[in-house]
C-alpha cells in the first residue's frame, strides 16, 4: 500500500515538472474564442495572431443554449463568446458578462467611455441599432418583472456586447421552379434595379404575400398558392420557426406562447413539410431537392458566394432568398464572460474588427451583413484595402477578384438594401424584429406542438 502511494506521488511530481516545462514553451497569450461553425475567415485568425503576437483558438458550439451552458458552467474560461441577442439578455440577467471598456478600443474616438460608445454607435448600421434599441427596451421591461436595476437611458445592455454580424431571416427559394420566376430587373451593367418589375409580377413578392404563400393562407387566390407538389422545408429550431409563424400571424413573437399556441399549431399543420432541418435546408435548395424554405438570409448568401466563386454571375445563381418586408432579424454579438482570463486580448480582438479593412476581409467568407457602415460602403463601392497599408489582407486585383467583388456587391445590395445609400442614409428597407429570451417551459410547449405535427 505504502509502495503504491509512493509510486503515485512520484508520478504526480513528474507530471507537475513536465507540465511546467511544456507551458514554458508557449509564452504567447492565448485568446479563447467560442464561436459558431464557419463563422470566421480562417486567414483572419492568422492575421490577428501575427499582429498581436498571440494564439487565437476558435472553439465551436452550434446553439445559443450551448453557449449559455458553457459559460454558465465555466469549465473552460472563454475570453470571447458570440451568442445571439436573446442569449445576451439571459447572460446579462444572470450576471455572466463583463462590461466592455471602450477606453481600450483605440479605433474609437472620444475622451470618455460614453463618448466612445456613442462614436461606436454612430458607426454601425441602422439595422443593428434597431436591434440594440429593442434589446434596451426589452431589458427595461424585464427589469420591472424580475426586479433589478437597469439603466435604460444609458442603454446599459449594449455596453456589454459588440455586434459581430447581423442579418435577417427570409425565404430561400429555387429559381428554377416556375412558381418563383425571378422578375427582378437589372440594368445593362447587371446591377439590380428593383424588386417590383414591370410585366408579370412575382407571386412571392406581390403585395408582400411571401408569408401567406409560405404558410398556405387560404385568403390567397388559387393561382397565387404554391402548387401542392412544391417541396417546402421548415426550420427545426422551434424558437425561430415560431418567430416566422407569428410574423405571418401578425402577433408579437416575443410574448408568452400561451395566447398563440393554438394558432401556431393550426398554421404549421396546414401543409406537410418535406424536410425539417437546419443547415441541410440550404443544401437541399441548392441541389433542387427543395423549392422553398425558411432560413437565415446569411445561410443562403453563403451558398450564393460559393456559386459566384464557381464563376456564376449573381443573376445566374439558381437559387436566392427573398426577405419579406416584415421579418425576424438577429445579431450575433461578441461578449466577454466574467471569468475571462485575457480581457485585454479580447478587447484587442474587438479593436481589430473595428478596423474596416480586417472586417471587410472577414466578411468575404461569411454571408451575413457587416455591422460597420464603413464595411458596407467598401463592399458597395467595390473597394479593397490599401495595398501598402494592409498588405496582409490585400487581395490581388485580377479578373476573378474583380468579378467576385462586383457580384458580391450586387448580392449585398439586393439582399440588405438600404433606403438612400448614395445620400448617406443606411436605414434598412425591411423591418426586422429581433428575438427575445423564452422560458424553457415555453420552448417545451413549442417543441411538443411541432413534434405532434410531424407525427400526425
Amino acid at each position: 500500500m505504502v509502495k503504491s502511494i509512493k509510486k503515485l506521488f512520484i508520478l504526480f511530481v513528474l507530471l507537475l515538472i513536465s507540465s511546467t516545462f511544456l507551458s514554458g514553451c508557449t509564452t504567447r497569450r492565448t485568446l479563447l474564442f467560442l464561436n459558431w461553425g464557419e463563422y470566421i475567415n480562417d486567414d483572419l485568425v492568422t492575421l490577428f495572431e501575427e499582429k498581436y503576437n498571440c494564439n487565437l483558438i476558435v472553439d465551436i458550439a452550434d446553439s445559443n443554449e450551448l453557449f449559455y451552458a458553457k459559460i454558465k458552467s465555466g469549465t473552460t474560461a472563454y475570453d470571447l463568446v458570440c451568442p445571439a441577442e436573446y442569449m445576451v439578455e439571459k447572460m446579462y440577467i444572470n450576471d455572466l458578462l463583463q462590461e466592455i471598456d471602450y477606453m481600450k478600443l483605440d479605433a474609437l474616438s472620444g475622451n470618455t467611455n460614453e463618448e466612445r460608445y456613442q462614436n461606436y454607435r454612430d458607426s454601425i448600421m441602422p439595422g443593428v441599432i434597431q436591434i440594440e434599441d429593442y434589446l434596451n427596451d426589452d431589458m427595461l421591461k424585464l427589469s420591472q418583472v424580475l426586479n433589478f436595476d437597469y439603466d435604460h437611458a444609458r442603454s446599459e445592455i449594449n455596453h456589454y456586447h459588440m455586434p459581430y454580424f447581423w442579418g435577417t431571416f427570409g425565404l430561400m427559394y429555387n429559381k428554377l421552379n416556375p412558381f418563383f420566376v425571378d422578375n427582378n430587373t437589372y440594368d445593362s451593367d447587371g446591377k439590380f434595379v428593383s424588386n417590383i418589375p414591370d410585366g408579370e409580377p412575382d407571386k412571392l413578392q406581390e403585395d408582400n404575400n411571401a408569408w401567406k404563400v409560405y404558410f398556405f393562407d387560404d385568403s390567397l387566390p388559387e393561382e397565387s398558392q404554391l402548387p401542392l407538389d412544391t417541396k417546402v422545408g421548415a426550420y427545426d429550431s422551434v424558437r425561430f420557426f415560431y418567430g416566422a409563424v407569428m410574423t405571418y400571424h401578425a402577433s408579437d413573437p416575443n410574448v408568452s406562447v400561451d395566447d398563440n399556441l393554438e394558432a401556431f399549431k393550426e398554421i404549421i399543420s396546414r401543409r406537410k413539410y418535406k424536410e425539417w432541418g437546419g443547415d441541410s435546408l440550404k443544401h437541399g435548395i441548392a441541389s433542387h431537392n427543395l423549392d422553398i424554405a425558411f432560413a437565415y438570409t446569411g445561410d443562403c448568401l453563403d451558398m450564393v458566394y460559393l456559386s459566384i466563386l464557381d464563376g456564376n454571375k449573381l443573376e445566374d445563381v439558381e437559387f436566392y432568398t427573398y426577405t419579406p418586408s416584415v421579418t425576424m432579424a438577429h445579431v450575433d454579438t461578441l461578449v466577454i464572460p466574467k471569468n475571462a482570463r485575457h480581457v485585454d486580448l479580447a478587447h484587442d480582438f474587438m479593436n481589430f474588427l473595428l478596423d474596416k479593412n480586417y472586417s471587410w476581409y472577414n466578411n468575404r467568407d461569411i454571408g451575413y451583413c457587416p455591422v460597420l457602415k464603413s464595411v458596407y460602403d467598401m463592399i458597395l463601392n467595390e473597394e479593397s484595402p490599401n495595398k501598402d497599408e494592409y498588405p496582409t489582407c490585400y487581395v490581388e486585383e485580377d479578373e476573378d477578384e474583380l468579378f467576385w467583388k462586383h457580384n458580391w456587391r450586387l448580392a449585398i445590395e439586393k439582399t440588405f438594401p438600404v433606403v438612400d445609400h448614395a445620400n448617406g442614409d443606411y436605414t434598412s428597407v425591411k423591418t426586422g424584429i429581433p428575438f427575445s429570451y423564452f422560458e424553457n417551459s415555453d420552448i417545451k410547449k413549442l417543441t411538443n406542438a411541432v413534434n405532434n405535427v410531424k407525427t400526425s
Binding site: S63, E65, L66, Y68, A69, K72, S73, D236, Y273, K274, E275, W276, G277, S280, G284, S287, H288, N289, N440, I443, K444, T447, N448, N451, N452, K454, T455, S456
Partner: protein, 279 residues
Amino acid sequence: MNNKFGRLAKPYIIWLYIFAVAPAIVMSFLIFTDMEGLDLANLKMTLDNFSQLGEKSTLIAFKNSFLLSVITTAISIVLGYLVAYKLFRSNFKNKFLILVILILPMWSNILLRTEALANIMESNNIVTTFLNKIFNSNITFPQLRGTYFSVVFGLVVTYVPFMIMPIYNSLEKIDRSVEEAALDLGLTEMQKFWKVILPMSSKGIITGSIMVFLPSLSGFAIPKILGSGNIVMIGNVIEELFNNMNYNIGSLLAMIILVVILFSITIVNKVDKEGEMLL
C-alpha cells in the same frame, strides 16, 4: 490467480462507475426536478415531468422506435444469417479477408455514410447530376429520403455487420461430426438445417439481435438525417430536449430506454443459464 485477473478489470470497473453508474444516478434524480440546465440554485422538486409521457408525440416516438428497430432486427437476422451461412459453407480459404471486407464500410465515419446514403435517396443526387451532365438529360431518382423505408434501410445497412459476426462465430463452432451424425440418422439437408444448425447457432442470432436492436432503438442520427426530420424516434426527442437544456424530461425518457435495455438483457440472461449466448 483469479484475484490477479480481477485486479486487471479494475480500471474498467472504475470507468464504468464514473461514466455509466454515476450519470444514471444523477439522471434518476433529475427526473424529479425542474430546472434549467444544471442550475442547482433554482432547483424545484416536481412530478410534472411525467406528464410528457402522455404527450401524443412522445408515445408515437416510442412506437416508432420499437417498430422500426424490431423490423430492422428482423431484416438483419435474415440478411445476416444468409451471409454468415454462405461464408461458413464456402470453401474459400481466406474467410478472414471476407469478414474484413464486410466490416470495411465501418472504417469510415457513420455520419458521413449516412449523409451519403441520404444524398442517393434524394430525387436529385450525385448520380443524377453526373448522368444529366453527360447525357444532357433530365433524369431524377424516386424520392426515398424522408420515408420509413429510408430509415429502416439506413439502420439495416449500418448495423447488419453486427449481426453477421456473432452468427458466423457460432456457426464456426459447430462440430462437423454433429452434422454427419444428423445425416446418418436419416435427416435430409433441409431438416438438418432446421433441426440442428439453426438451434445450435441461436446464440449468435440472439447476441446479434441485441447488438442491432439496442442501437437502433436509441439512436437519433440516422432517423434525423434519412427521415428529413419528419420521422421522430425517441432518440430524436431526447436529443431535442437536451439541446434545449431540458435535462429533466430528457433524463426521464433516457432512463425509460435504459430500463428497457436492462430488462431485455436480463431476459436473455434468464433464458441462457450458462451465459453462452452473450459470447
